[in-house]
């Protein structure tokens, strides 16, 4: 790859990275906390590309440094650029459910949740917390029969009903782990796969792989700003 092309590619990668960071789309790929770092990295890369281009125009360069192989590898950086421009992939959905680790487990540790107040509610909680309360070792006693409200996307269940699922990520989508709730007792229309929904219901114990939620309401909602937990 020529010097000019290399510098241009560096700049393009930097601008795309900064655009992802500033536009918020980066949340479909990595943790929200990465935003500022992505912005800084993107701006630095854009500056680097610009400075090298400027030096090139002025003819400043060490010609003796030429001649080593391997810079052809730089062409591969075009691949993520094209993927972002052409496919612009969204957040992980139901397709990946059985390809990532399922059932976030806290059996190896984790705190004990306080009991919910059954009289008030519905209690909003993450799907991760729902699963953690269910798996706590107390047969989900902390739910105390209270109504809870969960947000996730719709996925097919092996048995009757359907799943509501949401991924937790620690760094990026490559390490996503799913938390799921098995929706039972819902007579209304079942939303299409990958529709984001807000569901309300009560936990029921059971030996199913996914904790069950006897559901009283299912409301389709737009995809949350931060699709992961």
């Amino acid at each position: 790859m020529s010097r000019e092309a290399g510098a241009t590619l560096t700049g393009v990668v930097g601008v795309l990275l900064a655009r992802l960071a500033i536009g918020g789309t980066f949340r479909q790929y990595v943790r929200p906390g990465m935003g500022p770092w992505l912005a800084v990295a993107g701006i630095l890369l854009a500056l680097l590309g610009a400075v090298v281009l400027w030096r090139h125009r002025r003819g400043e360069h060490d010609h003796s440094a030429h001649g080593h192989t391997g810079e052809r590898a730089a062409w591969l950086l075009v691949a993520p650029v094209l993927t972002l421009l052409l496919i612009a992939p969204g957040a992980l959905g139901s397709f990946s459910l059985d390809r990532t680790g399922s059932a976030v487990s806290v059996r190896s540790g984790g705190g004990v949740y306080a009991k919910l107040d059954a009289a008030s509610g519905p209690h909003e909680m993450s799907l991760l917390e729902f699963d953690q309360r269910a798996y706590e070792g107390t047969e989900g006693a902390s739910f105390n029969g209270a109504t809870v409200r969960l947000v996730g996307f719709v996925a097919p269940a092996k048995a009757d009903g359907f799943l509501v699922a949401r991924y937790s990520i620690a760094c990026c989508a490559a390490d996503a782990l799913a938390a799921t709730a098995h929706i039972v007792g819902w007579d209304g229309p079942v939303p299409a796969r990958d529709t984001w929904v807000e569901v309300e219901g009560t936990f029921v114990p059971g030996d199913a792989a996914n904790p069950r939620l006897v559901t009283s309401s299912v409301t389709p909602i737009p995809e949350p700003n931060d699709p992961y937990e």
């Binding site: 560096t10 680097l48 810079e71 993927t83 496919i87 397709f95 990532t100």
Partner: protein, 333 residues
Amino acid sequence: MTVTSPLGDEATAPIAHPRQSRALPVLVALIVAAAVARPLVDTWLDGEALQSWATIFVAICVQALPFLVLGVTVSGVIAAYVPPAVLARALPRRRVLAVPVAAAAGVALPGCECGSVPIAGRLVARGVTPAAAVTFLLSAPAVNPVVLVATAVAFPGRPEMVVARLTASLLAACVVGFMWIAKGDDDWTAKARRNERDEGTRFGTFVETAQHDFLHAGGFLVIGAATAASLQTMVPRSVLDRVGGSGALGVLALAGLAVVLAICSEADAFVAASLTQFSLTARLAFMVVGPMVDVKLIALQAGTFGRRFTAFVAPITFCVAVGSAALVGALLL
């Protein structure tokens, strides 16, 4: 693996005749075509598997880029502002002593594996003995404070996991360093050593080094990200459940998983914590192997140091890391 480019190497296209290189027009045409063609190809790029692959591929690249930028910045600073004599004095002259010092120095680099590869390559280029550079390369992503804190958070109430990870990773990095002294050949790092440049001014050297290292490491990062995304999309994780269980098979299964998943060392503890059907020792092996050998790192290392380097270091590191995790796991967990 590299993409064959129809465009000559830079050496054949001196800047005095920029018209000889078609790289820039090709690059611009590709990007403009992609932006324009998006609505046209939208329908057939809608496959679920492709979408999922692309999400993971882009996610790994996006996640790695800030660390790569940190790595090439440090690399550029070393090249431009740190004289080789200073580096030489910082390490003991005897290689056997330089190896543990280099392993401990890894504690000071907050980042993950993508940043440590260009830095280790730069250290070799500046005359640091390859045995020490290899040790640093392996230890830095595994033992820095950010990774250790992440491990403590992922395994609440189990501080011994953090101690075990630190111990097993330092041990494995040192053993590989010693094996390099015994059996390695410093010529296998010749590719990294050729990579010195002098631009006349320090700023010039800094900028050109950072630019070169970014393009170079970035290209190989893309190979690794694509491999990891393909394996993650095609192989269901439930395959693991069939291996399951404890014992040696579980340790090997998770060590192998660490190689193919190529998860950032700052995140692998959370994935390890979720693999509850495996023993703690198996999960320790996952966290010791991952930052040292995975498909993304193999591509990055081969690109920076050369194939013979990787052919020697990657298999040895895998075995040593598994052994070290098994030993430390038996003693501490």
